[in-house]
Every structure is written in structure tokens, then in C-alpha cells.
Symmetry: C2
Subunit: 228 residues, 2 copies
DNA sequence: GTTTTTTCAACTGTTGACAATACGGCGGCG
DNA sequence: CGCCGCCGTATTGTCAACAGTTGAAAAAAC
């Protein structure tokens, strides 16, 4: 009824959305302490709804809580990031396969146009933009949506991408990765236009493998990260 | 310090674990209404911690909440289940690939032994057990653990499997699927023993595709379940 | 008899107060 | 000089009471 009312109807929901956005935007960096009292005061509400919002974020793995200590914004180690890229490779490969089968010719043409538009707009002139940027994000986002699988879309867009954005790119992306990424994107679109799901999935996974290797420390003799 | 202290240290954490287990076990079926007051009284605590537990379950997508109405246990439609099987195929395929590269020879031998033990114990005599049963679960569980990728393990074991268990198998699994599943499991182990990651992933994905098709209504002229 | 309105009980949303716990500083003591 | 325990403060955990909303039964109108 009240359209412009606001985002969430309850205070707890609004606090959740506020916090989630602040975390994703980077206003609250990793390890940032979420002080219930301070947050409540800054929102002009009581601690109850704030606590509920934090519990919801905890379920979403955006914050980590320790009883009697407090909640902090989730922090991703380098190996966490690499692990998540394996997950992303699996999920987005599947999304690309499904998109290849399910996207309309029009949508595929639009995707291709988007790609070439970015390519020619000189956005990657410095070899810095595009990759890990809105252009790159749009491209992947459209393909994911094209999978028409709501669960898959939610996992990638609502969960995984948010998690990845928490990571503040510590290692500068490799030089030349931007133009390389563009080439790989073209290969993906080509396979999609040819309606070859197997190939499209393979190209997407190769693309994400390269992205992972660009951030992954070179394989040392013995990997200290494995212990269970 | 005190390991055997108890499950969760705070009431909210214990309520969360209690509710999560009840949902996963099926004590609280899909669509079951979570009455804060009633739950609080049955736990012997106040509504505050119960609300926090529910918010955490909401973040985990185990319950769905509507403001001012209440929370209900998540209900999966048939198409939801099919969508989740695509996700499972992607993730568990990747897990199987990584497990093939990372599991020790001993662990692989143990996996093979587990499989043959189940096969010979007459557990699948009636063609009813094994598939969608502890034996099947153990098999997949071990492979997932073998991936040594904590994020992947958490997504599969802590999130996806719990979601899948919510679904109360409405369509009885096809006759003969049990022995078929066993054959497929053998193919997977064979590929893993041969240390062929590509093949292992392929076999696992084929296995899960078959499982999906067994639950997926055969492609009819017009499917009444699809409406978006 | 059917439809509309009103009332009401049950539940959720929110708050402020109180209890319990962790952390840091202070002083005592070996 | 350094270690240990005490204590105060700040923050989290829990509770009970209050306010607002919903949905349905009961009452009124047609």
C-alpha cells in the first residue's frame, strides 16, 4: 500500500539491509567490530532488532560471532579466496551451461553487444579496468541470470559474490590479465552463440581457473594450508 | 577449553541447534509454523533467544519469515528440488575432482571397501535400501570430505544436504535405481583409483544427473509445475 | 441466508532493565 | 622486576512488559 515506505517493514529487517550493504560496500571492512549498542544508537533503535540482524548475517556467513565477545565482519584469508574460486568455477560453469541452453537469441546478441561495447570503449586501455570491474561483473551477472535456475542464481549473486566482494584485493591483479579476460569472455560468448553447452561450460571454467591462478600464490613444494 | 560443556554456550545458540536438528530430522515438517512463544516455553527460556535462533535459520534459508505473520520451515517444491540437484551436480562434481587429486591411497581403498561392503551385505537386496540411505550418504560424504576444500565441504554438508533432507520424498524412487546407483558408484571409485580427475568428475555428474532424472517428472507437453 | 462490519484474542515487534561475562588496569607479593 | 589475583567498566546475554498487527470469530446489516 505504502510504496515509498521503505525497504524492510520491520526495524530488524531494515537494520539487516543496512548492515549488509555497509559490509558489501566496504564501509565496514573485514574484522570490523559490530558493537550492538553503538549500532543501535546510530540507527535510533534498541539493541533487539540489531541483534536479530546480526544473527541473520551470521547465518549468511557475512559476520562471525563469538559468544560473549561480539560479532565481526567475516575476513577471508588468501586460501579462503582460492577455495571460493573453486566453488565459483563449479557453479558458474553450470550456470554458463544452462544459459547456453536457455537464453534467447536476443539475449545472447545483447550479451555479445555488451562485450564488444566494453571492448571498444577503451575501458581497458590502461589494462587495468574491465577485469574485476563493473563491466566484468555485468557480463558474469547476465550469464548467471540466463541459467534460469533461481537457486543457482541466489547462491551465486546473493551469497558467493557478496562474500567475494568482502575480500579487499590485496594482490594486485596481474598485468595483462584484463585483455586476457576479454579474450576469454569472447570465447565464452562464441561457444554460447554456437549453442554448445559443453564447450561454453569448459570456457567459463577455464576463464575462472585463470582468474584463480592469477590470485593464487605459485604452487610451492609443500603446501602448509592443508590440515584436517 | 571444556569440550564437553554443551552444544552451544548461549541459550540462543542452543535453541538454534535444537531447531536446526528438529527441522533436519523432520520433527518439524515443511510449512511447520514456528511459534516463538510456544517454543520459548518448551525450551524453558524467553522469546528473545528463540527469535535470534529463528533469524539465524532464516539466514541459512531453513525457515521463511513473513513480517508480522511468523516463520515456517522452508518448503521445497518439486522444481526447487530439481534446481538444487543442478547445484549439487556442479558442486559435488568439483568435489569429486578434487578428491581424486587429493585423497590418499589409503582413504581411497577405504572408500572402495565401504562400497563393496555395502554391496555384499545384502543391504540392497530389496532394491530399496542403499540409494537415498545412510550407505549412499556415507559414500558421498567421504568424497566431499576428500576434496579438502573447507568452503566446498561447508556448502555441501552444512547447507545443501540439509536443504535436500527437508524434502520429504514424495515421488517414490524408481525401481532398480538402487542397483543402478551402485554401479555408478563403482564407476566413480574406479575413476578415482585410476587418478583421473576429469573422468571422476564426469562419472559423479552422470550419477547425479540420473538421480535428478529419476525424480524429475518426464518432460511432458506442458509442465504444470513451472510458473515464474 | 449472505455479506459486511466489528470485536477480540493471539501472536509478533520493540523496548528498557537486569544479569552474566570478558577485558584491562591496579595493587600486592614473591 | 615480574607474575598473580582482584576489581571496575564496558559489552553481551536474557528477560518481562508493552505496543502494534493480523486473522478470524461474532455481530450487525441487507
Amino acid at each position: 500500500m505504502e510504496p515509498g515506505n521503505i525497504s524492510g517493514r520491520t526495524l530488524a529487517d531494515r537494520a539487516f539491509e543496512w548492515l549488509e550493504e555497509a559490509i558489501i560496500k566496504g564501509d565496514y571492512p573485514p574484522e570490523f567490530r559490530l558493537d550492538e549498542g553503538a549500532l543501535a544508537k546510530s540507527f535510533g533503535i534498541s539493541r533487539g532488532p540489531v541483534r536479530e540482524a546480526i544473527r541473520r548475517l551470521e547465518g549468511k556467513k557475512l559476520v562471525e560471532r563469538v559468544p560473549h565477545i561480539g560479532a565481526r565482519v567475516t575476513s577471508l584469508t588468501d586460501s579462503d579466496l582460492v577455495e571460493l574460486f573453486f566453488v565459483r568455477e563449479a557453479l558458474e560453469g553450470m550456470a554458463c551451461r544452462l544459459a547456453t541452453e536457455r537464453m534467447s537469441d536476443e539475449d545472447l546478441q545483447a550479451l555479445s553487444a555488451l562485450l564488444e561495447g566494453h571492448a571498444s570503449s577503451g575501458a581497458l586501455k590502461a589494462g587495468e579496468s574491465y577485469y574485476q570491474r563493473p563491466g566484468d561483473f555485468d557480463f558474469h551477472f547476465r550469464i548467471i541470470q540466463g541459467s534460469r535456475n533461481p537457486k543457482l542464481i541466489a547462491m551465486l549473486c546473493d551469497d558467493l559474490y557478496h562474500l567475494l566482494r568482502i575480500y579487499r584485493y590485496r594482490s594486485s591483479s596481474r598485468r595483462g590479465r584484463a585483455s586476457q579476460a576479454l579474450k576469454e569472455h569472447r570465447s565464452i560468448v562464441k561457444a554460447m552463440l554456437a549453442r554448445k553447452p559443453d564447450l561454453a561450460e569448459h570456457e567459463m571454467r577455464a576463464h575462472l581457473q585463470h582468474a584463480r591462478l592469477a590470485i593464487q600464490p605459485p604452487p610451492k613444494k609443500n603446501d602448509p594450508s592443508v590440515d584436517d
